[in-house]
């Protein structure tokens, strides 16, 4: 197999196209791949962070004013229904960006994260038992302090579950953006497919999958640990 | 009749839930299993319909070993009522009640009709039929649970703390109606409860179980109160045993004091004329007691008005003639005038009785009548 085709980048040491060569591929293209990995991490996390910041007050509103909950759920449900790639593409004309502006990715993913997290925050706050709320108010907690000191800590497990879903799914969604030219690990798949003529060239594809799974796992585990750290009372109960 | 023969249930980790239990629950009677947590009462109950299988020993229903029949067939012939009713949330009330007949293959229409009859029997209006369990209160759900258990007319019913999850007022109502039902239906019932008062109230016979699954005593409620078998039973049955035992003592026909009564709307002056010791009983036109009126110590000017409902003292319970000594004593003790009101079966006023008269009657009872009733 001589296969030196018109390729984006030269193959360094022959054409080792087996799947297990992904580590070697990584080493050959380390600079570019690390750049993509960083972009991918950033694009996965930032929307969730912003999304959470927006969802906290919105979710609180939905709890405080009962009538807000149904329409909010309808709207966020609608947004969540739209496939991510469609959302990526629709954002630029709506926000006045050029059609393949990389900014569409974080914007669309923030919308997505908000759509998911508003409901999670609202339900997390709803999971606080009523008598706890009453007791806190009777003890003299003002509304805001009660939210911060009582309701949010108790809602943490539910919100953490939502954050896990949001971050892990974002990893996949960002990769999708790679198919329309955005800079992230999805580009590895793009490379893989282009390099796969005439025979299959696995390394970038496998590398992409491995890195995505690793990234998703790291996010997931981190949130689980943070959740545990933030809820010491649950561990105490479990240990009884 | 349900017979336990040396039934034991031991779990793999070594805990013994039921230890060599042998007893007989007679047909047509309510046998109550009662005891503290961990005494194996629920486990024993659930071994009857094989929700749990015994480690050793056998259970017989009408002399047939329960293990000789398939489990589902066995259960379709036993009514099963549990604590929160366990109604199917996805079915209407009437469909819930008709479950077992439909399982047995009965005609759909007939099953529905019977379900409606049963709803009436347990005291629920027909408008409930099309509702869903989530729309019903706890007490209503429990009644549906009982109706559902009765639907296929099983001879045996197993009830596991059916009235524990409702508030005391509703519980008392359910217990009353349950007794009324049993008067009509005469089912063989095994009833589990942790509440000794409920056991004494409902049971024809009561089995007191001890932690570890031992049978401490099996006896009628009166016997249990009068002769607890050991210290555990005595402690479990609780205090005020002598007083509570009076609830099972038939008073017989008590001689009553004839008492003049007043009615609503009379002049107070006229009422005072008939009052005895400053109190007069006020009744309505059909001689149904309404309350006591205190007239002692009222000045002449205050006596210018009439007997009104607002001025009545409603303290004092009513005792039915021919009822228990306990009811009589309570009527006398709770009455503000010191005279207990006695009525007939329809609630019409018959006469009054004082506490000392009741006490005399109590002490007149021979040792046999007092405690050794079987």
């Amino acid at each position: 197999m001589t296969g030196v085709l018109l390729l984006p980048q030269p193959l360094a040491n022959g054409a080792d196209s087996s799947p297990w060569h992904f580590w070697g591929y990584f080493q050959d293209h380390r600079h570019e791949d690390l750049h993509w990995l960083w972009e991918h991490t950033y694009l996965s996390l930032l929307p969730v962070a912003i999304g959470l910041a927006i969802s906290l007050p919105l979710g609180w509103l939905a709890r405080r004013y009962r009538w807000v909950y149904p329409p909010m759920i309808s709207i966020t449900g609608l947004l969540y229904t739209i496939p991510s790639i469609a959302l990526f593409i629709i954002v630029p004309p709506l926000f006045g960006l050029k059609s393949l502006d990389p900014l569409q990715v974080p914007i669309a993913l923030t919308v997505y994260s908000v759509a998911l997290l508003v409901r999670v925050v609202a339900d997390g706050l709803a999971s606080v038992p009523d008598d706890v709320l009453q007791a806190a108010t009777a003890m003299g907690y003002g509304s805001f302090r009660r939210l911060v000191n009582v309701e949010l800590p108790i809602a943490v497990p539910v919100i953490a579950a939502g954050l896990r879903v949001a971050t892990v799914s974002n990893v996949s969604l960002v990769a999708v953006a790679g198919t329309i030219g955005m800079d992230n690990l999805g580009r590895l798949f793009d490379q893989g497919i282009q390099l796969s003529t005439p025979t299959a060239y696995y390394p970038p594809i496998v590398l992409g999958i491995v890195l995505c799974v690793l990234l998703a796992t790291v996010f997931d585990v981190t949130i689980v640990l943070l959740n545990r750290a933030a809820t010491p009372w649950r561990r105490a109960v479990a240990a009884r | 009749m349900i017979r336990f023969e040396s039934v034991t249930k031991r779990y793999p980790d070594g805990t013994v839930a039921v230890d060599s239990l042998s007893l007989v629950a007679d047909s047509g009677e309510i046998t109550v299993f009662v005891g503290p947590s961990g005494c194996g009462k629920t486990t024993s109950l659930r071994m009857i319909n094989r929700m749990i299988e015994p480690t050793s020993g056998s259970i017989f229903i009408d002399d047939q070993d329960v293990t000789k029949v398939s489990r589902t067939e066995l259960r379709r012939g036993i009514g099963y009522v549990i604590q929160h009713a366990g109604l199917f949330p996805h079915r209407t009330v009437v469909d819930n009640v008709a479950t077992v007949p439909l399982l047995l293959g009965h005609d759909k229409k007939k099953a529905r009709t019977r379900a409606l009859e049963l709803l009436e029997l347990v005291g629920l209006p027909a408008s409930m039929a099309k509702r869903y369990p989530a729309q019903l209160s706890g007490g209503q759900q429990q009644r549906v649970g009982v109706a559902r258990a009765l639907a296929a007319n099983p001879p045996v019913m197993l009830m596991d703390e059916p009235f524990s999850a409702v508030d005391p007022v509703v519980r008392a109502q359910l217990q009353q109606e349950f007794l009324r039902l049993q008067q009509e239906l005469h089912k063989t019932i095994v009833f589990v409860t942790h509440d000794i008062d409920e056991a004494i109230k409902l049971g024809d016979r009561v089995a007191v179980l001890q932690v570890g699954g031992h049978l401490a005593q099996l006896a009628t409620p009166a016997e249990l109160l009068a002769h607890p078998a050991d210290a555990f039973v005595a402690g479990f049955v609780g205090r005020d045993r002598g007083y509570r035992a009076l609830g099972f003592a038939d008073a017989g026909q008590m001689p009553l004091l004839a008492e003049p009564t007043a009615q609503l709307g009379w002049d107070l002056a006229k009422a005072r004329d008939v009052a005895v010791d400053g109190w007069v009983l006020v009744t309505d036109a059909e001689q149904m007691p309404l309350g006591w009126l205190r007239l002692e110590g009222l000045s002449d000017s205050a006596l210018s008005g009439q007997v009104t409902e607002a001025s009545l003292n409603l303290g004092g319970t009513l005792a039915v003639q021919g009822g228990t000594l306990r009811a009589l004593l309570d009527a006398a003790l709770s009455s503000p005038s010191g005279r207990g009101v006695v009525v007939d079966d329809d609630g019409h006023f018959l006469g009054t009785v004082t506490a000392s008269e009741v006490l005399e009657r109590i002490q007149q009872r021979t040792p046999v009548a007092r405690g050794d009733a079987g």
């Binding site: 593409i89 629709i90 339900d123 709803a126 996949s172 798949f189 299959a200 | 589902t72 509702r131 369990p133």
Partner: protein, 255 residues
């Protein structure tokens, strides 16, 4: 740009098939076809599996394991399988890309349906289950007559979630050359820098997803007993609390 998109969508030429262009209706049908086949297979596998695991309580490792599949990027799997499978299909070019697509779609659809079905059965009130067997229902009868109807809300939630993911991934599948579906407009538009076409594709996909979800919601309304959904005259509004966490876990967003 927005007006250009409208123009593109209103152009009758785009609604007809021609030698150089496959029209919107055909692509729509293609898209539906790919999605329906995958959903049918996934539900046929995951629904009974979830019911049995939930009912017997055995094999929960399978649910946890299959859930881990969600961490795999759909695009990556798609490309991997395409690269493996398509060389074997020279000549039957459509199938070469269709097969990996369908495989990936099924793999993506199974976790939400399985997880939600399992959660649905598990969440049935144990007292209700106890009453059902105590009355003499066989295990299969308890499953069919009690556990299944009571689990329907969560099962539908899982099916809806899976359907959305399938529709979304089928869109991305058009990244592979020659494959039909509404994503074709997106990727052709991308490659040709024909942005009105690309954005129109996005709009069409969004509309499809929303309409399908509404339809499924309608079916759910009809199929779930009012006793469970709470849709009876006495309106009690309750926002569910912790139960949502289970559903949230199941509802990974579309790829």
């Amino acid at each position: 740009m927005i007006s250009q998109v409208f123009t593109w969508l209103n152009d009758p030429a785009h609604w007809r098939d021609s030698p150089v262009f496959t029209g919107i209706p055909t692509q729509l049908l293609n898209h539906l076809r790919y999605s329906l086949v995958a959903m049918a297979i996934a539900v046929a596998i995951a629904l009974p599996l979830g019911l049995v695991i939930g009912h017997t309580g055995r094999g929960t490792w399978a649910v946890a394991g299959i859930n881990a599949v969600r961490a795999i990027p759909g695009v990556g799997l798609l490309v991997l399988l395409a690269v493996v499978i398509s060389p074997h299909f020279h000549g039957r070019t459509d199938l070469g890309y269709l097969l990996p697509t369908e495989i990936v779609l099924v793999v993506i659809a199974i976790p939400p349906v399985l997880a939600n079905t399992y959660a649905g059965v598990q969440n049935v009130d144990p007292e209700v289950r106890d009453a059902a067997s105590g009355m003499g229902m066989t295990g299969a009868q308890v499953l069919r007559r009690v556990e299944l109807p009571c689990s329907l809300p969560l099962i539908f939630s899982g099916i809806r979630s899976a359907t959305l993911q399938v529709i979304a991934t089928a869109t991305i599948a058009s990244y592979l050359p020659l494959l039909g579906g509404l994503g074709r407009f997106i990727y052709d538009g991308f490659h040709q820098q024909d942005y009105p076409q690309m954005i129109s594709g996005g709009v069409l996909v969004a509309l499809l997803a929303v309409i399908v979800d509404l339809l499924l919601a309608g079916v759910q309304r009809y199929a779930v007993s009012p006793g469970i959904s709470g849709r009876y005259s006495r309106r009690t509004f309750r926002s569910t609390g912790p139960a949502t966490a289970a559903v949230v876990q199941a509802e990974v967003s579309p790829a």
